[in-house]
Amino acid sequence: MSTTGADHAVSTSIVVEARPEVAFEVFTAGMGSWWPADHHILQGELAEMVFEPRAGGGIYDRGTDGSECRWSRVLAYEPPDRVVISWDISTSWQLETDPARTSEVEVRFTAQGDGTTLVELEHRGLERHGEGWEGMRDAVGSPGGWQRGLQAFAGQLGAGD
C-alpha cells in the first residue's frame, strides 16, 4: 500500500488477490461489508449501507430506526474498471448538502495478469471543502452563510460534550 498526492488530493493503491469483477463488486455493492464501522455519519445505529449500482444513483446509510443518510452520488459506474462517487461529507464529518462544497473519489480496477487486481483510489477536489469553510467566513452578509456556519459550529459544540 502506498500513499502520495497533490495538495488537493489523496491517492492510495492496493493489490488484491481477486479478479477485477470481484473487486469491483465488493467495492460497490459490498461496500457495507468493509467500510470502517466508526466512520458513519448517521446519528443512530447503522442497519445497512446501500450502494445503488448505476451512474446517477447514490450511496446511503440506513439506521435501525429507519432513518437514512445519503452521503454520496454515484458519478460514474463502469464495471469492472472504474467507479466515481461524490464525497458529500464536510470536514467536521457531517453531511454536506451543497454539491459545490463536495469532493470526489475515483477508483480504478486493473487486472494484473496473475489473477490479482491493482486498485487505485484518488480522493480529489479537497480544496472545495476548504473553500467552503473560507467562503463561509466571507459570506457573513448572507443569511444562508451564517446559518450554515452556526449550524456547523453548534454541531461541533454538541459533539464536544
Binding site: 500500500m1 500513499t3 498526492g5 495538495d7 488537493h8 489523496v10 492510495t12 492496493i14 488484491v16 488477490e17 481477486a18 479478479r19 470481484v22 473487486a23 463488486e25 465488493v26 467495492f27 459490498g30 461489508s33 468493509w34 467500510w35 470502517p36 466508526d38 466512520h39 464536510s90 470536514t91 467536521s92 464529518w93 486498485v119 483510489l121 480522493h123 479537497l126 480544496e127 471543502h129 476548504g130 469553510w133 473560507e134 456547523a152 461541533q156 459533539a159 464536544g160
Partner: protein, 106 residues
C-alpha cells in the same frame, strides 16, 4: 504550503500522536478525556497536542476550566491527513473482504 504539510505529516509520524489525532477526528475532546482513555500521562498528552497544534492539525478552545481540542476544520492539512489515514484503513479492510469473496467463488 508544502513545508506546512510536511510538518503535518511529520507530526503524525509518532504513533501516539497519530492515535490522539484519530480520536479527535471522531470527536472533540479535552486533555483529561484523552489521558483517561489512553495509556499516556496527562502532561504527555498535552505535549503531543502542542505539536499537533503547531502543525496546524488541531485547534483548541476554552470550555469552563478545560480546553477542548478538535481537528482544525479549516485546515486542508488536517483534512488530507485524516482522509489519507481513512482510505488506507478502508482499503486494507476492503482487500480482506474482496479476497474472501474470491476464495468462496472459486
Amino acid at each position: 504550503m508544502l513545508a506546512y504539510q510536511e510538518r503535518a505529516f511529520d507530526a503524525l509520524g509518532d504513533p501516539t500522536r497519530r492515535d490522539i489525532f484519530e480520536r479527535l477526528v471522531l470527536r472533540p475532546k479535552a486533555v483529561g478525556e484523552l489521558a483517561s482513555e489512553m495509556p499516556v500521562s496527562r502532561p504527555a498528552v498535552s505535549q503531543h497536542l502542542r505539536v499537533l497544534k503547531g502543525a496546524g492539525l488541531v485547534t483548541d478552545r476554552p470550555a469552563g476550566n478545560r480546553r477542548i481540542y478538535q481537528v482544525d476544520p479549516t485546515g486542508l492539512s488536517a483534512l488530507r491527513a485524516s482522509l489519507d489515514h481513512f482510505w488506507n484503513q478502508a482499503l486494507a479492510s476492503f482487500k480482506v473482504a474482496a479476497e474472501e469473496i474470491e476464495r468462496e467463488s472459486r
